[in-house]
Symmetry: C2
Subunit: 345 residues, 2 copies
Amino acid sequence: MTPPQTDPNVLRHGGALDAAIARHGGSRADWLDLSTGINPSPPRLPDLDPALWQRLPEAALEARALAAARHCYGAPAGAGLVAAPGTQALIAALPHLFAPADIAILTPTYSEHALTFASAGHRVSGFERLEAVPTDAQIVVVVNPNNPDGRVFEPADLLALADRPAASGGLLIVDEAFADVAPSRSLASATGRDGLLVYRSFGKFFGLAGLRLGFALTAPALATRLAERLGTWAVSGPALAVGATLLGDASVVDQIRTDILRQHELLRTALDGAGLPLVGGTALFTTVSHPSAHALFAALCRRQILVRPFTAPREWLRFGNPADAQQARRLETALREALAEIGTS
Amino acid sequence: MTPPQTDPNVLRHGGALDAAIARHGGSRADWLDLSTGINPSPPRLPDLDPALWQRLPEAALEARALAAARHCYGAPAGAGLVAAPGTQALIAALPHLFAPADIAILTPTYSEHALTFASAGHRVSGFERLEAVPTDAQIVVVVNPNNPDGRVFEPADLLALADRPAASGGLLIVDEAFADVAPSRSLASATGRDGLLVYRSFGKFFGLAGLRLGFALTAPALATRLAERLGTWAVSGPALAVGATLLGDASVVDQIRTDILRQHELLRTALDGAGLPLVGGTALFTTVSHPSAHALFAALCRRQILVRPFTAPREWLRFGNPADAQQARRLETALREALAEIGTS
């Protein structure tokens, strides 16, 4: 099955808002951008020592950020952690560490894993169920919870899958970009063993995607190889400092969880009120279905609300969380008008 | 010939200052760190819109940073530019774009190029003169001006070398990390053609190494392949914004050139006054020779001044620029005392 498709020229570099403004007018301040799954209300940035910008990032600072990530994500002392300028840098680098292999990706999911493995010369196939993954797939990729449909996989089922490729030198990759709000299903605590790699994204949960910070949690030897591909000092001093502070502050993490769940409740209420059938989602986004989803997308754009359309399935629309009740009311009004305008409700 | 060697455990991640503090005491504020070739007096950071931290870096912002770099470095419209989280990320990624090949590196030079090409499975050889590079070397690496000896290569000689590998699908790599103060020898204006790639480092000249920003200037097809290896959104929003502003401000660039030249004059005066024979250098550092260089290094550490020693040649010591006359006087005094202490002068 083909993964959900969006227009890569628009999505790359998050240029969707610029494209929407170019087409529908308005300024950035006029638009309500719900096209991402990024927390819309980040915590206050810690004060940044000017030396963080000036000096090469220090080993001690990187160690502090890695220790905070290890603690926050619950990775054991024996796991190898790699900090990168965003999970995307890891997703781009990892496929090149392996000779061409059979890659099984749980689909439908977002397309970056398939694109980067295919571009590195691997044979990529999509499977809708864990049970359908061929026993000889050398590398298996699961996004948990999944984007954009929010499907969740149980840790025990995934660990059973990790046991299989590990025996043959293979690898289970679990992309936990949206796992932070409900971390009970995270496999972070199982990392360190061979055959398992977990990605964690800093920017989405903390609402600081521009900072560029992401982590891989895996066996120490693979972590070393991955870090070498990124090169020394891959993450900026400010990103390491912000990551070390926020990942290390349990009260900030708890507050963000509470905020995101409240914002998500606002989103779900707005979408329910509009009668849009739920496909699924995580606490940071909800995907719904509509027979004229592209017309609804355009009608929302005319109201300067940007959401995420798909080219396949064409019926899906993904909504990020509003930041507050005011934004949620704006979304409710716009949905009502837009649905009336396109002649369905 | 072996490239100049430093202790990789100390130098990686710029941990030299931490190691020196651990051994000789004092706090960071007590130390005068002359161990890097980074401008010690960066310009004021532009104000940063909070959205730069929050949103994924926008295509329009990256385009602004690349346009400013193209203008500042003098690259033609036809050149492909890649922005990376530091030149080091490019140096780590590039060797993996090529099948194992014969790599010729002009030596002695700093070790990262040799390390990353060797780690990617290439056969690496060092040559002391351009004329000695074998005609069948597929990839040639030149650092111009060179680090740590400051040797300069003439553009015409380098272009002749670029013509040769280009004909056979090869590549001349010119690392211009220290070219900004005297850009007349830069090959940036010749990029865009096949067979030539130039690295430019933002952090050293602007004194903002913690920001992580560097560029490759090359043929468009190679630039695309290199960017793909880095992954989308590899550079942070704040780094792109700072880069776009400072690279685009000719008066800032001119002022920094003036400041660096003045600081370098202070450094040269201090080293001349100490009677230390000059090996060479660039405007951002000077390398001198001393028969007991390691003893001199340690005696300076006891005065909480950190410089860069080498394991080969053991006689070399590299000094970065002092920020001002006060730091220069401190260096002069420390050199006089240190040389007396180790029994030579």
